[in-house]
Subunit: 167 residues, 2 copies
DNA sequence: TATTGTTATACTCTATAACTATA
DNA sequence: TATAGTTATAGAGTATAACAATA
């Protein structure tokens, strides 16, 4: 493999290159995921909801909305769909009658397990394109970029529990 | 700065970490862009259409659909919106009466210039979170991941001209 | 008064299927 | 027959504003 004739330090990366790469990559991933999940009647976005609900303690809709960086009415719309499919259950909150708790049903958990399975090849394919240290690197860099865009510094959604806000 | 006690080589990066980082970062960027473009009455997705139309030669709707990795009817829906706003023009193809060419209007070009301007701070903010070599690195890694997901190997949308398919 | 969730409404993006016109 | 584009239709995600119930 020959050395490039232009030293890499000279070639500046523009913001739009990063924007395009980010967009193309995410969209490719999102579409592949949607296609893989479709036979199970679930979208990629809905999968993220289910995965979020499965990790950690029971959430209220409001907490879910904050966690998803979405509007409460958006969250409700998606929950209604998942409810209709019997994948989540919304119950009265034990101590605050305004709130509703959201939890996976047994079928929701079963479906989620299948979703993790059918999504695995896609994630594996992405990882195979990278060396282990490159995979660490891209996650670290993406995380830095995400934080630079959200000054409120929401940690990049680690799976299970985390010291919860209040309540 | 102290060394980590766990050598980084031991900690494997999982596919879901990459998936989450990709999603969170893209969504943050997309939402920020939408908010910045909203006063101009254009969405982030529409901006990508306009930018694609501005670079290189005139396209037909079909070519645009392939370029955007979208369905022709999706492309049409967006073009109708842009047409209504007076930002694009769809004319009869000179030699093939089935086709329609799509091009920016003068106002489309003016609006696109403004969109580049109002989007610049967001792209700059992303870049500031990275060293120049890191910016190159993340673009390269994202591109590799994107290509691993799209076996048809569509090059990651470089701006202007490229040796076009056929026609 | 502030908060949680719902309702009504609307817009964008997405895609499928049936169709027309042209090549 | 195959291709370019349209139409009709539908569903998913998004958000705003007005509202009811509760804290």
């Amino acid at each position: 493999m020959r050395k490039r004739t232009i030293p890499p330090a000279i070639r500046m990366t523009s913001g739009s290159e990063l924007a395009i790469a980010l967009r193309v990559t995410y969209l490719a991933f999102h579409r592949r995921s949607d296609a893989a999940f479709a036979p199970l009647g679930v979208t990629a976005d809905q999968f993220v909801f289910l995965a979020t609900l499965s990790s950690g303690r029971t959430l209220t809709q409001r907490e879910l909305a904050r966690r998803m960086l979405s509007d409460p009415s958006t969250v409700r719309a998606i929950l209604v769909l998942l409810d209709r499919r019997g994948l989540v259950e919304r119950d009265a909150h034990p101590t605050d009658a305004r709130k509703r708790t959201v939890a996976l049903t047994a079928e929701g958990r079963r479906t989620l397990r299948r979703l993790w399975e059918v999504g695995e090849p896609i994630r594996a394919q992405m990882l195979q394109a990278l060396q282990p240290d490159e995979a660490r690197e891209i996650v670290a860099l993406l995380t830095r970029v995400a934080q630079s865009l959200t000054p409120q510094a929401i940690p990049v959604g680690g799976p299970p529990i985390s010291p919860e806000d209040e309540e």
